[in-house]
């Protein structure tokens, strides 16, 4: 085939085919790159990576596996539990919501833990069901049984996510940003701060009390660390919400309750004890009826820490506690859990 004899039509087909080819090649590259990013001591902010990390760490028969969002990831201290004789795994994933948990549950069940603790904010029981960013077939099955519209929406997201670049775009964006920041001149104010932080890197190992493999300077001034044991740690104190707006929750969201009950049932059938922890909220702004919640989930224990007072200085931002808050919270949670286990 001679290029110069090609018609416009064939050239157009060639041009578009090459664009598609590029995108496929990029995906293949990303697949292998992401695969290599997860080892026994490293992972990325992605539920699939965390599943692999969990499996590589031979996490069978743990005393507790904590499942949750970034609030589990940053709030649960594996070391604090370990020091008190409890062998746990922090299955918190940044960006995940309970809508993502049907994907994790089979792997956790397979490892036969003694207890599974699911953490969520109480408002999620009253809020609408979301479609996760990266729905899997397991999640889509749950959407189908709960809400057909959400199921259709999850099909669309699932199709779009076949292009891996879309899945990893946030990480890629952050990488580009960090490369850009390396070209800041030294006389920029915030750059000087960064430099100081970098110089005192060694202190962070003591502060975080974990072996961390990744550090990220966040836009709000906090620093995020990823620890080899699966924990995340936030350092900083940058809350913006100084005064709380009271919120009253009365009507449960039926779909959310049914979806969550489906997750609990999937654990219950394996005869693993399930506990539901309602996470602490900055400035204790929610009002609701706990008894009604308990009636909704009869076969599980509920630990309500929504109104557990954590001082402002222990919050990294409006929704996450920092490294010091993490220890205090984990200690407090442990005392509750020990009574229930």
């Amino acid at each position: 085939m001679n290029f110069y004899t090609l018609t416009f039509k064939k050239k157009i087909i060639l041009a578009f085919s090459l664009v598609i080819f590029n995108l496929i090649i990029l995906d293949i590259g990303l697949y292998f790159l992401a695969k290599n990013k997860t080892t026994k001591i490293t992972f990325i902010d992605d539920k699939f990576s965390k599943i692999k990390h969990f499996q590589l760490n031979n996490s069978e028969n743990k005393d507790i596996v904590f499942i949750g969002s970034s609030r589990t990831y940053y709030h649960i201290s594996t070391n604090t539990f370990k020091q008190n004789g409890l062998d746990i795994y922090n299955f918190g994933v940044s960006g995940d919501q309970y809508e993502d948990y049907p994907t994790l549950i089979p792997y956790v069940n397979e490892s036969k833990p003694k207890n599974i603790v699911i953490s969520l904010s109480v408002n999620r029981l009253f809020d609408k069901l979301y479609v996760g960013n990266y729905p899997t077939l397991d999640e889509m099955k749950n959407y189908y049984s709960v809400d057909k519209i959400k199921f259709l929406s999850s099909i669309n997201t699932w199709i779009v996510n076949r292009h891996l670049f879309l899945q990893y775009s946030e990480s890629i964006y952050n990488k580009i940003k960090s490369v850009y920041q390396k070209f800041e001149p030294h006389n920029k104010k915030y750059n000087t701060q960064n430099k100081t932080n970098m110089q005192s890197d060694i202190n962070y190992t003591q502060i975080t009390k974990c072996n961390y493999f990744d550090r990220k300077d966040l836009d709000n001034g906090n620093i995020s660390f990823r620890c080899e044991n699966g924990d995340g740690i936030l350092i900083g104190n940058n809350i913006t919400n100084k005064t709380a707006k009271k919120k009253y929750f009365q009507k449960f969201n039926r779909q959310s309750i049914v979806y969550l009950q489906g997750i609990i049932d999937a654990i219950d059938t394996e005869q693993i004890k399930v506990l539901l922890v309602l996470e602490p909220i900055l400035h204790n702004q929610y009002t609701y009826n706990l008894d009604k919640i308990k009636k909704k989930f009869k076969n599980i224990e509920i630990i309500d820490l929504t109104n557990y007072k954590i001082e402002d200085k222990y919050w990294a931002d409006d929704t996450h506690i920092n490294n010091k808050g993490k220890e205090i919270y984990s200690q407090h949670l442990m005392t509750h859990l020990k009574k229930k286990l």
Binding site: I12, V19, N22, F165, L166, S169, I176, N187
Partner: protein, 462 residues
């Protein structure tokens, strides 16, 4: 819906393209035009369906007035009808775009306390209003005529040019829609259209949006700026605006070509201009032509002596400034350009000469400084940038090295790279280099859209 979104590129455009040509292939010409209007209105309503009745009413009104102006048998005073038509259009634009600005100034002048209306500005209202005013005037001058509502609706709503121009004339568009040849797929036009579209997409999402980050940081975030930061901020906005708007125009031209429609060129390397008159012959050409043909010349143009000419120039550019936005900074920007044109005219009258490089430097810097008022949300923002640019107190070089390099590349592109629309004028064969350039620009743009999330074009709100 915006051109640089996945929904437009992967769903709306291919579906519209194939259905339009399928209907034409089946010789369903009216259905194909009807479908194009429907698709364009769908495209328009994607932002907010509330705007739809406004544009439909505007189209219907102007069609009725235009038909009456064309109808030789109608015994109406055509001049009065034209004035009525123009006034209604201006009233519509004035109500939605300038009511709050007027009330604010009235409150300020009279210490009254009239409440603001807080009206949402209907998308593209400035563009479709100007386009239809031009149609009415052309009808009055017997330069064009239209008796078919569907044809008229296609002319106004054709989605590539609906939102931010180019401002097109009925007489240059309709013969293209009527041409039987244009109802068949033309693979050369498709190749050229996709190629120009990819250039525009790249200009917008890769270049303009990168400059936008730095411009926003300087204008909206920083409290004070050093000398270099201030210059980097103003230049970033100057480049952002050019790449954003010319990128949009390239995409519009490329998209229209897919449907075998040739839109007028709107940019011709404006930052290469060596005087302000030259700049306005290269920047937003269709708007410049509109201002010239429908404001400057009817005011008397240059026919009534030098002083009257200066006056007409100033009025035209004050209106031009106000057209861009309801704010004193926009009017001041128009005033600066009007004043510069007056100075240029006086300069030419006395036959003063300047070195070519100096003429470019003066012109470019004037444009760059004037854009500061165009971009600034408040006077204080403009003063902050200007103070930094002309104060030597803080001369520390504290801008990111990548930013500095990209600004330098920006200069090279606007000064030395060939204009994208030059492909329209010469033989286009979709050579191997052009295909590779297309593949590279499309791939990078598709990825960057995801990274940066699609942002709207600057000119949508004007």
């Amino acid at each position: 819906m915006i051109f640089n979104s996945y929904i437009f590129i992967f769903i709306f455009l291919p579906v519209t393209f194939f259905i339009y040509f399928y209907l034409n292939h089946k010789r369903l010409t009216i259905a194909s035009k009807g479908f194009l209007v429907f698709a364009s209105l769908f495209f328009y309503s994607w932002w907010n369906i509330v705007y739809l009745p406004i544009i439909l009413t505007s189209i219907l009104f102007n069609f009725i007035v235009g038909s009456s102006l064309n109808d030789e048998n109608k015994k109406v005073n055509k001049k009065s009808l034209l004035i009525f038509g123009i006034l209604v259009n201006i009233a519509l634009l004035g109500y939605f775009k300038y009511a709050d600005f007027f009330i604010q100034n009235l409150n300020l002048l009279t210490t009254s306390n009239i409440g603001l209306l807080h009206l949402a500005l209907p998308l593209a209202i400035s563009f479709f209003t100007f386009q239809q005013i031009a149609y009415l005037v052309d009808s009055y001058r017997r330069e064009t005529k239209e008796y078919d509502f569907l044809n008229y609706a296609v002319f106004v709503t054709f989605f590539p040019q609906l939102i931010a121009g180019p401002i097109v004339h009925h007489k240059e568009m309709m013969p293209q829609f009527f041409s039987k040849k244009n109802m068949l797929k033309n693979y050369r036009n498709i190749a050229l259209g996709t190629f120009i579209f990819s250039i525009g997409l790249f200009k917008k999402v890769v270049i303009a949006d990168t400059f936008a980050v730095w411009a926003t940081a300087g204008f909206d975030t920083s409290e004070t700026l050093s000398f270099f930061e201030a210059w980097a901020t103003s230049l970033s906005y100057t480049f952002q605006l050019y790449f954003d708007f010319s990128g949009y125009t390239d995409m519009a031209i490329g998209l229209a070509l897919l449907f075998n429609i040739k839109l007028p060129i709107n940019f011709n390397s404006p930052y290469k201009a060596k005087n302000i008159q030259d700049f306005w012959r290269r920047w937003h050409i269709t708007l410049s032509n509109f201002l010239r043909d429908y404001i400057y010349i009817p005011l008397g143009g240059s026919r009534n002596g030098e002083f009257k000419t200066y006056n007409n120039l100033m009025i035209t550019f004050l209106i031009g400034g106000l057209w861009h936005g309801a704010g004193w900074t926009f009017i001041f920007w128009g005033f600066l350009h009007g004043a510069a044109l007056v100075v240029h005219r006086v300069w030419s009258l006395f036959e003063f000469k300047m070195w070519s490089w100096l003429a470019w430097l003066v012109t470019f810097n004037f444009i760059n400084i004037a854009w500061i008022f165009f971009r600034a949300k408040e006077w204080e923002d403009a003063i902050k940038i200007l103070s930094g640019m002309f104060s030597l107190d803080d001369m520390s070089f504290n801008i990111n090295y990548i930013e500095a390099t990209v600004l330098l590349i920006g200069f090279i592109i606007v000064l030395f790279v060939k204009n994208s629309t030059s492909y329209l004028k010469r033989k286009f064969d979709f050579s191997l280099q052009q295909i590779l350039a297309f593949v590279l620009m499309m791939t990078i743009s598709i990825l960057v859209i995801r990274l940066g999330n699609s942002s709207e074009f600057l000119y949508f709100n004007f």
